[in-house]
Structure formats: C-alpha cells, structure tokens
Symmetry: C2
Subunit: 555 residues, 2 copies
C-alpha cells in the first residue's frame, strides 16, 4: 500500500524526471495507405487468430485467399465477367476513373491490385473490375445489373478491415465507395451528422471538431477507413466505453439492396418508434445484405479536457476494483480503461528499449483516460480517485501525464504491444470478449496449458516465448496473444479448439469487434447457436436471394 | 438581457421566497395499477393522437376496441378457444393462479377484465383466457401449441402502453409475463444486469441502486411496467438524452418465436461482432415477432449529484441556443433538457393555481437537469452555464432548485402539463419527433391553421382553447396538444392529415416513443416508406408465418 504522502510525487513523476521522447520511440514500417497514428491503433486491434510473421510483405502478398482457404470454391452460379458487362458499367458511370478494368485491358492489373488486397496483405482476390459509383443511383443501377446477371460483388470502403471482409476471394466485382465521400448535412443544435458512406472517418471528425463536436467512434484506421465501412462492420474502437456502440449512435442510413432497391432509412431523429428498426441489421452486416450509401449519426460535444493515468496493480482482482472505482468516481468523464499484463509490457520494453512509466514491475497495468468539459474539475476528480485507489492499496503505483506529449507516450505502452510482438516472431492472436470477471482467466488457463505441454520457456528449445493479454477492459474485450519463436504444429493443437471452447462455455465472443469476414466465417458457431445462425441465414436470403453480396464470407 | 449581478438572487429565488409546497399541488385520480409518481410521468408521454375527456372511467371502459375501430375484423383463420385448449394449458402450467379462464367458467369474467383493458381504459378486448407462464419453457410450450392450433396471442407486460399494443382486440389469449419477474444476475464490475422480462422496472432500478448503479431507462410507469415490455416497445423515457436508447444499452435477450423456438441471444458482452444483431429486431417489435423472456442490459453508475434549473426564454431560437450552450458547458453531466411553451404553463397555472417559478411570463421555458458524480463540480458548472446564458441574453430569467423537494416542484411544471390539460376538456395529442430546428414550428403552424379556420379563441364560441407544445427538447420529441372545449368535427378536419403530412415532409416521426399498437398501425406510412414497410412485413412473415403474435396491430 502506498501512503497518501507518496501520491503527489507519483503524480508528478513523468513531469519531473522523464522526457516524453523516451516514451515514444515505437515506430515500424507501415503500409502506405494507413497513417502512422492510425496504424498504431490498428495494430492493437488485431485479428482474432492470425499467425503473422515479419516476412517481407511482398512474399505474403503472393498468396491468394483461394490458396490459403482451399476449401472455399468459386460458386458456379456466378457469371464470368465479359467485355459486354464492362461496356455496360462504363456507359453507366461515364468517367473513366470510375472503372478500373482488367477484363478488357491487361494493363490495368497493377491498378487493380490495391483493391484486391487488404492492408495487411493477408488476403488477396482475383478481381478484374473495380467500380467507383458517385451516387446512390449509380450503386442501385450497378447492383440491379449484377443481380440480373448473377455477378457477385464486394462492397469496399477504406479496406482497413482485419478479417478479409472487404476484398474479393475470387473474381467478385469490387464496388469501391471512395467517390461518395461528401458530408451532406450537420445540425449544430442536435449534433446530427449526415454523410456519404465513403467519407473518411478522420475527415468527418475534423469537420465535427470545427463545430465543437466529435464523431462517437475513434479507431486506429481513422485516416483511411470510411464511415460506411465502420457502420457495416460495427466498428468498436476506443470510445465505445464512453459513447456506446454504433447500434446506439447511428440514427439512420441509406442502403441499396442486392436487386438495386434503395432503402431510405436516413432518419435524423433520436426517437422513431414506427416499426422494426431495420437499420440495425445493416450495422455489422459486412455488406452481405446491402451496401450502405449514407449514414446519419448522433455526435456528442467534444470534450476540451483530457487526462491519462497509468497504474501498476498487484492482481487482476485489483484491476477489477480499480475499474469499479474509476467507473464510480470518474463516472461521466471516464473515456478509456485499458488493461496490460506484465508480459505484454516486458515485450514492449524489450523491443523499444524505452524506460518504463513506473519504477517497479507489477503483474498488471492499467491506462485510465478521462475526457470532460472542465479541466480543473477533471483533474480534481482524477486526483481524488488516484488518492482513493492508492490509499486503499487497489493501485500499487501510478503516474499521470502532464501534457499531450506525455499522454501519447503513455498510450504508446498500450498501443505499441502488437507492434512489439510483431518484431519478435509469430503471434497467435485472439480478439475476444468474455464476461469481465473471467477476462484474464483465459490468459492464465492458456498459459498453463501451453506450459503443461512443455512448449513455453525462456530458451530457444521452446516454441512459445510468452502468453500475454491486454485489451479494452472497459468493454471486456481481451487480446490474447501467444508469442512464438517459430511455427510448430503442436502450438496450434494446444490452442485450438481449446480457446474457442473456453470462450463458448462462458458465452463469450470469438470476435469482439472485428467481425467475421473470411477469417471467422467458420467459427460463428462458437458464439452463436444454430437457431440464431438459422435466423441469420433467413435474413440473408430475404435481402439477397441470389447471394451476390460479399459471397464466401460472414455466414 | 439580465445583468450578471442579478444572477445570484435569481439562483436563490426558490430557496428564499417560495415554499416547495406551493409548487407541488398537482394531483389527480390515478388508475390503481400505476403509482402516483409513475403516472405523473406517464401522463407527460401521451398518445400521439388521443381525444380524451374527463368522462367517468367506467363509461370509457364500456367501449370495445372492435367498436372503436369497426374496420378491424377478426381474422377467421384463428381458432376459437375450446375447453380442450384450456385443459391443455391447465395441465401445462399446473398452478391454478397461472390460468384465468372464462372459457369454461363465466365467474372469471371480472378477473379477466384488467387484462383486457389498458390503464387509460381506451382499449378493451374480448379475451377469455389469460396465461401466466413461469419459465421460458412454459412460454415455448404455450406458443408451440398456439401456433399448431392457430390460436392468436397478445404478449402482455405491465400493460402501461399508450397505443393499445398490450391488450387484445378480439379473443386473443393474453400471455402475461408477471410471474417471470426475477433478477437473475448482476456483475458489479461491468454493470451488466440480467433479469426476466416480467421484472418491474422500478424493482430492477432499486436493486441497482443498492449496488451503486442505475437502470439506463426511466419513465413514468416505472412502478408497473416490465423491462420486457420496455424492450419490446423500445421505451424512450427521461434518461435517453444521457444514456441513449435501448438499442445501445440492451446487450442481449432471450425470446420465444411463434413456433415455440427459443432464441437464446442473452449475450452479456458489450462487443460481439458475430453476425446480424438479431436482438435489435425484438427491441421495439411490440411482441409481433416473438415474446421477450429475458433481458441483459448495460447499466451505468448512479450519479449522486442532481440539479434542476428552470428558465424563461424569449423565443425558440433562444431555446436552441440555450440547448446548445447546455450541451457544450454541462456536457457530460446534462441529463435532461425539457421544453415548455407559455401556453402549456398558463394551463398548468390555471388548473393548479400554483405560483409560477419565475416572476414574469416568457414565450418559452426550459427545465435543465444535471446528474453527476461530484456535487460541487456540478454546481460550479451549472452556475457558470447560468451566468453565461444570462449574460448573453440567451436566457431571460432562471431559478435553481435548492433541494430534492424543489427539484420535484420544478419538474411538476413540466410533468403536470398533460394532467392540467385533461382537466380542461378534450385534447388532441400528437407525440412526434421533428428535426430540432423546426421542432416548435409545428405548433405555430398548427395554431395559425386552427386560428385561420376561426376555431381558436378565448370565449366559448370557439371550440379550441389553445394549441400548445412541450416535450423532450434533448430528444427532439415534441408533444403537440390541441386543447378543446368540446368535440367539433371541424377541428379534426383542420388538424388531420395536415399534421401528419407536415411531419412526413420533414422526415419526422409520427410516433417518437410510444410505438404503433392499434392506434398508429394505419399511420406508419407517414414515417416509413413502402420499401421499408415491405421489408418489415417480410421479417414478420419470417418470424411468425401464421401471424399469431399480437395480430391487428403494428404493421
């Protein structure tokens, strides 16, 4: 337990004895389409199960999804693209830049490649035609034609997804939404924003910032991702604890069904109890029942004050107590509560060489962020909270960022974990949600299991270096990471299906925020029972009877 | 404009010169099943269009819904109840109290009446059988039997709805959920509550209060309504501005489909991106696609500090500016922003005789409530906000409640409006949502139209006494009320379809928070286009092919 008199020095530690610079040395080569800031966060929200190596990107790029997943076969019901099809689309969209075609022009293959491949270069399709509609009417006419001619399509936003949902598997036509990128309306009194689906999240947020508002979603890929894609994947991100999910903040949307029917549900009202809330089906549907073309969303006021504290704690029980205390005492200003275990922080330290925020090591660390309208009030609440949790021994040590640079430095200890892991070899990654009480138990049980199998150790003879856990404590969203020295089939055999079964037994989710895509299509049964999957298939059939929308994925 | 030095006396006015007692004299005879507190609020959220008079309740009770709506015919596909059916249900449910049957026993007619009639006694069915299942399995077996035998049913929670959705029209079996009233689980760290559908909202909230949490929904009928009914009607209530809609806070639910299939989607996680979010369809479906049996909901921390201020303002433009300022400066502690026009307050004053909170009269009044974790901080924020809006002339005058009694007294000026109206004669009521900018324009346009028709005036020759508006400014939810001296067909002809068309032109909602039920089934087209209604009918058909669930309503 830390006595009260120790707190002020603790709170001032970062300000007095450390420079921000030595806390922000995390940097890796990033894919060009994603901004640095963006990717730093994107890395923290990695795919549920992804063995990724530090092999050159080009080598990874070579592999087609159809090779990685040989069980997936092209659906023979779908037509092959012909020059006649291309002519139709060229006539429809007019502008040359709206059609990228390697059906009639072999030269276009290079131009098409970025649309065929996700930013991780883990998925790669065989698409030969990219269409960039400029209006909802364009989307409608494209889909009607595709539906009539049995041409499969993949809706594509910023292509920042992590499960292969936004790139083709075979020769599906990519319908890229980047030209539909306008902000259409903003009501400064209610905070309701209406924008086209291809509007980039950061653009929308910067527009809102100029009005004193904030987009109620923040995630790493904000510099590239589209709000239509965010809605279609029900993106979670960093503000969920504070602003809730898109199911609550999206007020309305416009979408085009497979047959070209435009569903105009672009409601701008917070309340509208007139029938089934259809828009909810499109939120998180990954483009399988329609293409979202416009979004209306409720935006909160921007908070001028922000604080970040970083704690060391003795056990996961202490973490839970700290979280409860933060919710109670920081209450309306709490905007993030992130969890990191010692293993994850040791890896960041090992890779970056940065000095740790706290002097001693603890089994657990938490990052607590507040966002509020009054800096003095927030500081006072935070100070009182810190004194309380330290007096009671809930928190063993802590430090508080003194400025924006230090805020970013502390966040780097959380956001840099996945990057650090990627420097050390392969990683089995699981992005899961588990009821909070047992959140960390999965890490301990997995570690014990790997250890019992003789696979975990400090020397090179053991394939597994570490089993670590971190994530969004506030959302009960855990990132379980198994860091390995080399591929070893024994490791995967120990991990799966053990982890999926463990999660299913606790009614957890095998995909907390990334969706299903290609990657987790076959795992849905661990989080949804056959009755629900059956109902979902019924909905898919109702909205897209020919199955042309984003095939080979989701269900 | 009020000079800064006037503010402190203004803020203290209630504390120094008025007793709380003279502000809380609103009281009317209330239906027994609804507590006084509950009903006071329920009255403020009245049906969208309801001409109600002060006639004795018994007289109103006499009229069957089938007489009020002669166009609705009993669906001949549904079977008539027989003693054999009753025997099946008695054998199934065991306990005598679980079956109220006037099929085989004429004596039970009186016992059945409360289940046949809504609390306003505006709707009345011909039901002869009430079933009270104790478990999900009971519900499942009941529905399977009903579906197999083409027996129509009405799911019924606390029966506090306002649109006739929870009572039968003809001889539908009432499935009353009151025996499934248990709180099943609460996670004190995450704030996740799991409870049966028949759990009364106030019971759940009191349980949560003991844990330092709050139910993220508050409404007048809390003493009677069931959380399953709240979810099924997507209840809005008083905390929506702060905690958002049930589409965001409900984490999961269990429901039974028409054929008895149990849909177990009782997820307790904030994040679960594995397939279409089916639970969203049940939220606000009014029991037409399944019966909600259990609910899992995310509950926020309870705020220990509460403040209420009451303003006078010179125009609706000033109201919008005040709302914007409140959102910006009170930000995270703002929990309600209610609007009342002078006409509505004059009626309250006329009926109650109470002294007004402010000395002068203004065209508009607002009630602003804050809820926060630190009373001092909140008071400081509120004081700064008040000084700002008064200095800038946004608010002409204001007063701040000094204690809980005064808080209730100020709320009474908002919550007492509908009661006051009901004492003065008939009222045409419209519960609507309109984009905020034009929220009050509907009242002015309606008033001008009624006036132009020569129907509005101060003396008895005019059928209309006043056209007033009030409501949840924070949710863009307006209650337009046309107070009349007597029924006059010219009034309705002037009001409709004018009001519905006015709302439709602005993409407003003809039912902001009360749902459709019997009352607004035929008006859905004003707020939803044929494409959406068609999709909704497809969903209804998928989930309830025989249409046995809550027929004659909703779509």
């Amino acid at each position: 337990m830390v006595a009260r008199q120790q707190i002020t020095p603790v709170l001032r530690r970062l300000g007095s004895t450390r420079t921000a610079a030595n806390l922000t040395r995390l940097a890796v080569a990033l894919p060009q389409s994603v901004s640095r800031t963006a990717t730093a966060r994107c890395f923290t929200t990695s795919p549920a199960r992804l063995f990724h190596r530090t092999a050159p990107a080009a080598a990874v790029q070579g592999k087609f999804t159809s090779e990685t997943y040989p069980d997936i076969k092209r659906d023979p019901r779908f037509a092959q693209l012909t020059p006649d099809h291309v002519t139709f689309f060229r006539d429809l969209l007019g502008s040359d830049s709206a059609v990228i075609d390697s059906v009639t022009s072999a030269d276009a293959a290079d131009d098409i490649e970025p649309f065929n491949t996700d930013w991780m270069r883990k998925y790669r399709g065989h698409c030969k035609l990219v269409l960039k509609p400029a209006t909802t009417e364009d989307v409608s006419k494209i889909l009607k034609y595709c539906n009539d001619n049995m041409l499969a399509v993949v809706p594509q936003g910023g292509n920042t997804g992590l499960v292969g949902g936004s790139v083709p598997v075979f020769d599906e036509i990519v319908i890229n939404m980047s030209r539909m990128n306008q902000i259409l309306d903003f009501d400064e009194v209610s905070g309701t924003l209406v924008a086209e689906a291809g509007c980039i999240l950061e653009v929308a947020d910067q527009f809102l910032a100029s009005k004193g508002y904030i987009f109620p979603l923040d995630l790493g890929a904000k510099g590239s991702c589209h709000i239509g894609g965010n809605v279609s994947t029900n993106a979670g991100g960093l503000r969920l604890l504070r602003y809730g999910s898109l199911h609550g903040t999206v007020l309305g949307l416009e979408a085009v069904l497979a047959d070209g029917t435009v569903v105009d549900d672009l409601c701008r009202l917070r309340k509208n109890n007139t029938g089934y809330d259809l828009k909810q089906l499109f939120i998180g549907a990954e483009g399988t029942i329609g293409i979202v073309t416009k979004v209306s969303i409720q935006c909160p006021q921007r908070s001028p004050a922000q604080n970040v504290a970083f704690f060391g704690l003795e056990s996961f029980d202490h973490v839970q107590r700290a979280f409860r205390a933060a919710k109670g005492q920081l209450s309306e200003i709490l905007s993030a509560f992130e969890l990191m275990d010692e293993g994850s922080q040791a890896l960041v330290r090992q890779v970056t060489g940065n000095q740790r925020p706290l002097e001693a090591e603890y089994p657990f660390y938490c990052l607590v962020e507040t966002s509020g309208s009054n800096a003095d009030h927030d500081a006072e609440k935070l100070q009182a909270f810190l004194e309380d949790v330290m007096d009671k021994g809930v928190v063993a040590d802590g430090t508080l960022a003194q400025d924006e640079t230090q805020i970013r430095a502390l966040w780097a200890w959380r956001e840099g974990i996945t990057e650090a892991l990627s420097h050390l070899g392969g990683t089995y990654k699981y992005d899961v949600s588990i009821p909070l009480k047992e959140l960390y138990q999965l890490v301990e049980d997995t570690r014990a299991r790997v250890d019992a199998a003789g696979l975990l150790g400090d020397s090179d003879e053991f394939p597994v270096r570490a089993v670590v856990g971190y994530g969004h404590m506030g959302d009960a969203n855990l990132h379980l990471n198994v860091s390995t020295r080399r591929m070893d089939p024994r490791v995967e055999a120990v991990l799966e299906p053990f982890i999926y079964e463990w999660i299913a037994e606790r009614q957890g989710s095998i995909s907390a925020e990334h969706g299903l895509g290609v990657m987790k299509k076959k795992f849905i049964g661990y989080s949804r029972n056959p009755t629900m999957v059956g109902l979902m298939k019924g909905i898919k059939k109702t909205f897209d009877p020919n199955g042309i929308l984003n095939p080979y994925k989701y269900l």
